[in-house]
């Protein structure tokens, strides 16, 4: 049953050293504020899961919080490389990073299987692709009716999943709108889950009976963090800061400038700092 609390409490209660951690959001609604709180609380040895690691995992990898990562596309979208991710894989800095690499289709199916409490997912995938040769977690199953052989991957079952969403009501029911990615699956596949939201409202009032809702009893903690998805975005609240994504390339390219950025913006920061992004960007958007 969702506890409505502060970000420090939510991360403190639910994210543990060594956890398998999924922070999801497919370009949209990426829970950056929660990622910063994890860095501030000094979590370590995390096994990160995310389809598109994005800047949020570049930051966690760069500070050395991760022992490994399962992913399907590790770049800065439309910009280029994730330099901290590359530095970890190519030079083991600041520590080696074990990787388990999949395709998007396999990751999406693996989250779906996790949400459905199945041990594995079946897909028509990886045909002729070399990933199947380097990842022992890509196997096969045979259809018991047709004899056809299909790809199989293990279900994703994180210890904890974290997402950002537009709104929660005071009971902790959550509404997601727009590009919803694999967030619902990530939460339902996990043992514990945290949702940061732009607003907490009296009535959720979904715009359609078929809206994307997560009920309070499927969530461990709900936290009010306006702007918490910056530099990603929140549909209906503020747009993506493509400029920040472009700027990140230079910040992260160099170990020292990265470390300085983390010190100033994360270690010396607090969740409330994100609110200014929401306000400023909403004004721009209008």
């Amino acid at each position: 049953m969702a506890k409505i609390c502060t970000l420090a409490e939510a991360i403190g209660d639910n994210v543990r050293d060594g956890d398998t951690l999924a922070m999801e959001g497919f370009t949209h609604l990426i829970p950056y504020a929660a990622g910063h709180e994890i860095i501030r609380q000094g979590r370590k040895d995390l096994f990160l899961v995310r389809m598109t690691p994005d800047l949020i995992y570049d930051q966690l990898i760069g500070v050395g919080a991760a022992r490994g990562m399962k992913f399907s596309w590790g770049g800065n979208p439309g910009v280029g490389s994730l330099h901290r991710f590359r530095d970890a894989v190519e030079n083991q800095w600041p520590r080696p990073l074990e990787i388990e690499e999949h395709s998007h289709a396999a990751m999406a199916n693996a989250y779906e299987a996790g949400a459905a409490n199945l041990p594995f997912a079946v897909l028509r995938g990886y045909i002729g692709a070399d990933l199947a040769k380097v990842n022992p977690n890509i196997r096969s199953v045979t259809c018991p009716f047709t004899g056809e052989v299909l790809a199989a991957v293990p279900a994703i079952r994180p210890d904890v999943s974290i997402i950002h969403a537009q709104r929660a009501d005071r009971q902790g029911n959550v509404l997601i709108e727009g590009i919803s990615g694999v967030q619902k699956e990530a939460v339902l596949a996990a043992t514990r889950s945290i949702v940061t939201v732009e607003e907490i409202v009296d009535e959720l009032n979904p715009p359609s009976p078929n809206a994307v809702v997560l009920p309070r009893w499927a969530i461990s903690a709900v936290v009010h963090v306006p702007g918490g998805a910056f530099p990603s975005y929140a549909h209906g609240y503020y747009p993506r800061s493509n400029a920040f994504y472009i700027a990140w390339d230079k910040i992260a390219r160099d170990r020292d400038s990265f470390t300085a950025w983390i010190r100033e913006n994360v270690l010396a920061g607090k969740p409330e700092d994100f609110a200014r992004h929401a306000v400023r960007r909403a004004a721009n958007a209008a």
């Binding site: 770049g75 056809e148 619902k184």
Partner: protein, 257 residues
């Protein structure tokens, strides 16, 4: 009407022309995204553009930087979850055309966006496959667009991220794929199509002012030319202005945000 245009503009417009009004197109980011939207804004107004973020029938006014910019959902007919996108729409066989770019390609249109060097000790770690492995096998056909350079068009791929025609010939069919695979590769100098039998990429059209020597110099394998080669029609004034307008709007939007 002749006009000045850059090789990249020629590439984007030639790529756009490959699409038709009835296509349901899975759009890769970057060059494919520009080409698909130019098609939509010129000769293919009813084309359905799909991005892997779950946005279906999207009509962005500016090109997205990522595959999940808000613009895509705001202008889509509808937006589905990512598992649904990959299960019902891509794997479901509903997509006529996938449009990909890549870091490296070989003569059988296999793509590498994973690593340069050995997988376990890479010289360059690239972003990885994303949707490409299953886009490649599940779409009716694949178009690829990327600039022709020695770094990109290589004799040997260190890693096959997504299979095109594999080792050539009937390799796809032998693996059980029923889709056509890459049918056209559009570069800034020329257009390749796979040979009907061997599936080796073959130059079928050369952009105005480009020589065979330039193509050979910029390609990492010995280039095959088709018997009959045409000159790629130059961009029309409309095509150029549509492309430049959307690029200008995009630049303004990305810098402002």
């Amino acid at each position: 009407m002749a006009q000045d245009f850059t090789p990249t503009e020629m590439m984007t417009i030639a790529a756009a022309r490959a699409l038709s009004n009835d296509d349901v197109c899975f759009v890769g980011i970057g060059a494919p995204s520009a080409a698909c939207n130019v098609a939509r804004l010129t000769h293919a107004p009813d084309i359905t553009l799909i991005y892997e973020s779950g946005t279906i029938g999207t009509k962005p006014d500016v090109l997205p930087l990522s595959i999940g910019d808000g613009e895509l959902s705001d202008t889509a007919l509808f937006t589905v979850s990512v598992p649904e996108m990959f299960r019902y729409w891509l794997q479901g066989g509903r997509i006529t055309t996938g449009f990909l770019g890549g870091a490296q390609i070989d003569r059988f249109a296999n793509l590498n966006t994973t690593v340069v060097g050995p997988y376990d000790a890479p010289k360059v770690r690239l972003p990885g496959g994303g949707g490409a492995p299953e886009i490649s096998s599940n779409c009716g056909q694949i178009f690829i667009t990327m600039a022709l350079t020695n770094r990109g068009f290589v004799d040997h791929l260190d890693f096959i991220t997504s299979m095109g025609h594999g080792e050539g010939g009937d390799h796809r069919a032998r693996l059980g794929m029923k889709t056509r695979g890459p049918t056209r590769v559009i570069t800034d100098l020329c257009i390749f199509e796979p040979d009907p039998v061997t599936k080796e990429l073959t130059v079928v059209s050369i952009h105005r002012g480009v020589t065979r020597g330039q193509i050979e110099e910029n390609c990492g394998w010995p280039v095959r030319f088709a018997k009959e080669i045409v000159e790629t029609p130059i961009p029309t004034a409309t095509e150029l202005s549509v492309l430049r307008d959307i690029n200008a709007r995009t630049k303004r939007a990305h810098e402002a945000a």
